[in-house]
């Protein structure tokens, strides 16, 4: 059975790009359009890893990450931030909140797949 990755991004086209890259590598993908939507997807079902954008409406990625870390079922689920943000201060914020990796967009599919392979539980 393939492992499931939750992809959180407010851009539908970007989610499709990530989904294609991950499906090509054999992963199953669940999509969410922002942090709030993503929280509804964490309903007890198995999620092996989360790939999350930072700047999103309703609930941004860092707020979502902090929420995930308070959920007993998902607090050990690795989270990769995939974002256009490349400022060190933002990265430090992500690291402090519990992110395992920070990838800047536009990403190389092989780099994303490498990171997912490495961190996926």
């Amino acid at each position: 059975m393939s492992k499931t990755i939750l992809v959180v991004d407010d851009s539908g086209s970007f989610r499709t790009v990530v989904k294609l890259a991950l499906q090509k590598a054999g992963y199953g993908v669940v999509e969410a359009c922002d942090g709030k939507d993503a929280l509804t997807k964490l309903d007890g079902s198995k999620v092996n890893l989360i790939v999350c954008d930072v700047n999103m409406p309703n609930m941004d990625g860092l707020t979502f990450l902090k929420q995930v870390k308070t959920m007993s079922a998902y607090k050990f689920t690795p989270v990769i931030m995939l974002t256009t943000e490349s400022q060190d201060a933002k990265k430090a914020e992500g690291r402090a909140a519990g992110a395992k990796a920070w990838i800047t967009k536009p990403f190389q599919p092989s780099q994303l797949v490498d990171a997912v392979n490495k961190l996926c539980v």
Binding site: V17, T83, T84, W102, T104, P106, K118
Partner: protein
């Protein structure tokens, strides 16, 4: 008189009130002192102050409210068209990836023909797919950058009435807010007047 013209005229009068007030006060004082000759010399100056076109009330305050929404609409249309094109390419691309996987599966199943050559072709297609997936992300990036420009245009449009009162500090605060909305290195580089890097991927593990 249109609403914009009336507003502009009102702004003209309002902006000259302090100068007019001083002029009238000086004229009254001179008249009180009986310096009628000086008062006569002052009158043409008062007339010049009234007749001089106010730079804030002239073209800029009429043109900007008309032009900025047009640019916003043009950008909106550009984004919609780009998004439509990108969605189409992505849908087609998704099918191509599926076809490549099906080709691989078929090669594994049949095992016939020149398998080495076919596998090499399949690998080349896969590499091209990865390159395309990287390239397709730029549409989303452009969309995001245009969003920032559109928001700044709306902000400028909303502050037209207060532009004439902006001092250096207020201008700097406006530019700082503009810079704070950037999310990509390219936006910061462009803001600084540098050549924009096309965006290199970086991966940091924590």
């Amino acid at each position: 008189m249109s609403k914009v013209t009336a507003r502009s005229a009102l702004r003209n009068v309002r902006s000259r009130l302090p100068a007019l007030g001083m002029g009238v006060a000086l004229a009254a004082w001179l008249a009180w002192q009986g310096v009628w000759a000086a008062l006569l010399m002052l009158l043409p100056l008062l007339w010049l102050a009234l007749a001089r076109p106010d730079p804030q009330g002239s073209g800029a305050s009429r043109l900007l409210p008309a032009v900025l929404p047009l640019w916003s609409n043009q950008l909106e249309t550009l984004q919609t068209q780009m998004r439509t094109g990108l969605d189409g390419v992505l849908e087609s691309f998704g099918r191509m990836v599926g076809l490549c996987e099906a080709l691989d599966a078929e090669l594994g199943r049949t095992g016939g023909g020149d398998q080495g050559a076919l596998r090499s072709l399949s690998q080349q297609i896969s590499t091209q797919c990865d390159t395309a997936l990287h390239g397709l992300q730029f549409g989303d990036r452009v969309h995001q950058m245009l969003d920032v420009v559109k928001n700044d245009q709306r902000r400028l449009e909303a502050s037209i009435d207060t532009l004439s009162a902006m001092d250096d500090h207020a201008v700097q605060a406006w530019l700082d807010a503009l810079r704070a909305s950037y999310t990509t290195d390219e936006q910061h580089q462009t803001h600084r007047g540098e050549a924009a890097d096309t965006g290199q991927t970086s991966v940091d593990y924590f």
